[in-house]
């Protein structure tokens, strides 16, 4: 079972700051959309708004039949939606295994949790780190654990916020391989927010570019490749 993600006329606010202005985005079930834009364009806010995580919003965010805006964060998780935040947010006091086991709360009877063994099969590196405390992990290890932890609840919609940020090129490649493997082994709908457009577009079926809280391009990855003007205007730093 999988569903389309449909965002309609989404406005988002932090306190009195208006951050997103009428964003529309459709991500068909089982596909990956790269969400591009400069720092501060609203990528993180859009992902948080989809997960209904500490952002005030108006408009509509539907995942299949479910109105995600009506759900508390833990219910969003149990609806099969997982957000992997940009700062990874590993629980430093818990071990890798405990971080993974905590995430079983997101599973439901129809979407049973993945076992630790299955996770280690998907993320072999974590096998050697399983008893290590979160604070003792490197940035790359934390990123892999953050994605692995999101997968424990067997989600169908994965929201990845800048997974390549701050990582060495070799580690970025590993993260890319992991995402590719997840796409091929699971029926996953993915929104991949990135500043590294080369990395993201290589993994995506479609591209959405936002700037100052508005969608400025929305099309297939091939169409995006032909849009030199969009790339230059909205993505060059």
């Amino acid at each position: 079972m999988s569903d389309d993600l449909e965002v309609r006329d989404l406005h988002a606010f932090y306190g009195t700051a208006h951050v997103l202005f009428g964003v529309d985005l459709t991500v068909p079930a089982g596909t990956t959309t790269a969400l591009l834009g400069r720092n501060g364009a609203g990528k993180t806010t859009l992902l948080r708004s989809i997960a209904n995580a500490e952002v005030k919003t108006s408009g509509s965010v539907r995942y299949g039949p479910t109105d995600l805006r009506a759900l508390a964060p833990h219910r969003v998780a149990r609806a099969g939606v997982q957000l992997v935040p940009e700062d990874r947010r590993i629980f430093t006091r818990l071990t890798v295994r405990e971080n993974l086991r905590l995430a079983t709360k997101a599973a439901t009877p129809d979407r049973p949790a993945l076992s630790v063994d299955r996770i280690v099969d998907l993320f072999p590196l974590l096998g050697d780190l399983i008893g290590r405390a979160g604070y003792a992990l490197s940035g790359g290890e934390q990123q892999l654990l953050a994605i692995a932890r999101a997968m424990v609840g067997n989600p169908s919609l994965l929201l990845l916020d800048e997974p390549s940020e701050g990582l060495a090129p070799r580690i970025v490649e590993q993260v890319g391989e992991v995402i590719r493997r997840l796409q091929s082994e699971f029926t996953l709908t993915v929104v991949l927010a990135e500043q590294n457009s080369h990395f993201a577009v290589g993994l995506a079926d479609a591209v959405c570019v936002i700037d100052d809280g508005r969608v400025v391009f929305d099309g297939s990855a091939e169409a995006f490749a032909a849009q030199d003007a969009v790339r230059e205007r909205y993505l060059q730093v």
């Binding site: 998780a77 149990r78 947010r89 629980f91 818990l94 086991r101 905590l102």
Partner: protein, 292 residues
């Protein structure tokens, strides 16, 4: 010997109160001034159930637990009505909110039980003292020390070895992320609060026979509990245990050898620890879930 026994007993009572306080502070980041109010409610509820008379020990223990559980229920109601609104507010607001609750609890106790002191007898089989190394140690002290040891061990197992402990540790560190992973943060808060208030009630119920009960005990005891939380390190159960025992023993030694200093033991210990380790004995920048 008697000094040691008294110090340990007092220390364990303070620990029971401080452990609940530090738990709530560590997980919810709320400084709960009303904690002492729940200590007082626990003492009075146990008094109501035991009717002030000496009871067989098993009746005493059972009714003390019932009184603590009833206190926890009052705590849960206040969590629902008051605390849930405080989690996201600035600290000053939540300080005022919990202080207001303390006044309400004290006022309520005055209406129900009046200002005149009441006393609760010890359990019938524990009235007498027994002799250790030539000193007379009240048997009731043993019960308090046993309760403290069981509580410390129980909390350690709960936090380190159970699913709930894992959730509590995660929520204490990062409630936002815990929620994203499917943990019902409000439920963890409510359960943690109920546990903290249960411990306050337990402290009060067990302290009953050692006190003359007036509504004011809500304030007198909480001061020591706060000092212990500060000395032990915010959110550290193990730190609270060490600090509470140290405070109890220091109190007891000074009371016998330097009575004029006894009232200052709290401040002496707090100043000494804070000069050397401002974060408290076992404190760190993060809260709860570590050590014991």
């Amino acid at each position: 010997m008697i000094i040691l026994a008294t110090g340990l007993t007092d220390g364990m009572l303070i620990f029971l109160v401080a452990s609940g306080l530090t738990l709530v502070l560590g997980v919810m980041r709320v400084v709960n001034f009303s904690h002492g109010g729940f200590f007082m409610i626990g003492a009075y509820l146990a008094y109501e159930l035991l009717r002030g008379h000496a009871q067989p020990i098993w009746v005493f223990v059972l009714l003390v637990i019932v009184a603590s559980a009833a206190t926890a229920v009052v705590g849960l109601v206040s969590e629902r009505v008051l605390f849930r609104r405080l989690y996201k507010l600035p600290e000053v607001t939540s300080l005022l909110g919990t202080y207001a609750l303390l006044l309400i609890l004290e006022g309520g106790a005055q209406l129900i039980w009046g200002q005149n002191p009441v006393t609760q007898a010890e359990p019938s089989s524990l009235v007498h003292a027994f002799t250790v190394a030539g000193a007379q140690v009240p048997r009731y002290d043993i019960l308090i020390v046993a309760a403290g040891v069981l509580t410390a061990a129980g909390l350690q197992v709960l936090i380190k070895r159970t699913e709930f402990g894992r959730q509590l540790t995660a929520v204490a560190e990062d409630r936002f992320m815990a929620g994203l992973l499917g943990v019902n943060v409000n439920r963890v808060f409510a359960a943690t609060f109920a546990l903290g208030i249960f411990l306050a009630g337990l402290g009060g119920a067990l302290a009953g026979p050692t006190l003359s009960m007036v509504p004011d005990i809500a304030v007198t005891f909480i001061l020591q509990a706060f000092a212990v939380v500060i000395i032990g390190g915010f959110g550290s159960i193990g730190g609270s245990l060490i600090a509470a025992l140290a405070l109890g023993l220091l109190n007891s030694f000074l009371a016998s050898d330097a009575p004029s200093l006894a009232d200052f033991s709290l401040y002496i210990l707090m100043a000494a620890v804070l000069i050397v380790r401002p974060q408290g004995l076992l404190g760190s920048r993060q809260l709860v879930g570590e050590d014991l």
